[in-house]
Amino acid sequence: MSTENDNLSPTSPDELAIPAGLRAALRGSMPPAPVIGHALDAAIVHMAREKFAERRRGRMIRYSLFAATAAAAASVLLFFSLNPLAPTAVSPRPAAIAINTTHPTILDAFALARELRDHPQLVQQTAAYHVTHRSRVDQHDIDALAGAAVALTPVSANSEATQ
């Protein structure tokens, strides 16, 4: 029988440091201490151990899952950092769209309009897009291309009849 007792929960008056008369009185008023058999004791201990084990298992599962997730994330990050994804449609392209400024059609104006909408910074840096050769590219350049597309005859620099 286990004698572990921390004296914080005495089981009988004999274990208390009290006067003998009081001890006798309490002895008389208290029922006899139950007999805890070994089996019961063992069962209780076993239950406690089971409880602890269960908790430990839960913690282990949680820790394992967390570790696995972290490992997986780390693996993914490591993988994509070593193998980057292909760029999306809106990220800068390496080459400018060819625009025909000599004999343009509406598609050239349309292309410049899309470029200006999608890559406004890149457009300013691309010489080919400066149709009107000003310091910035804007709707005027698009209109100039569209105007040239619908023009029937080119305007000659020496076509003046009078001066």
Binding site: T105, I106, A113, R114, A146, V150, L152
Partner: protein, 161 residues
């Protein structure tokens, strides 16, 4: 004799009446219609069919071949994407030839995919004449600028109001 004279008088009077009444009828104020106008105004719709593709841009050239006809206005289309009047060359009007073109930066869901009127030409021409054009669809394109290979264009004359 007297009877003959009377008959003759009646005949003369009736003849004169028969002669004058049609004139008076025709000259009655407010009843004779105004002569029909020598010229008429009508319109021609430019319709582009992208055959299921989204239409984002087009360019079309036309020559008005009806004698003494003139374009007196250029209007945009039905769809909101092409509602504004298209690009055109003002100088082209002097030669009865015109190139019209337009584009739209709308998203695909906001662009036409079927037959759509993209522009309208308002025309003045002689009365009883019909507008006649030759036309060529130079290009029609989708949102990424890719040409629509089987796109077609047609010109639909309007009915005179």
């Amino acid at each position: 004799m007297k009877l003959r004279m009377t008959k003759l008088a009646i005949l003369v009077v009736l003849s004169l009446s028969a002669f004058l009444l049609p004139i008076s009828t025709s000259s009655s104020a407010g009843n004779s219609p105004m002569p029909p106008p020598a010229i008429q105004f009508t319109h021609v719709d430019i319709v582009v069919d992208p055959h299921g593709h989204t239409l984002a841009a087009y360019q079309l050239s036309l020559v008005l071949t009806t004698p003494n006809a003139q374009i007196v206005g250029i209007e945009g289309g039905d769809h909101a994407a092409f509602n504004a009047a298209p690009y055109y060359d003002p100088a082209a009007m002097q030669n009865h030839k015109i190139i019209v073109a337009a584009y739209s930066l709308n998203a695909a869901k906001d662009l036409p995919v079927g037959k759509t009127r993209v522009a309208r030409l308002h025309i003045q021409l002689p009365a009883n004449a019909t507008p006649q054009f030759t036309s060529e669809l130079t290009v029609a394109a989708t949102t990424d600028g890719a040409a629509i290979p089987n796109a077609t264009a047609s010109l639909q004359p309007g009915e005179n109001p």
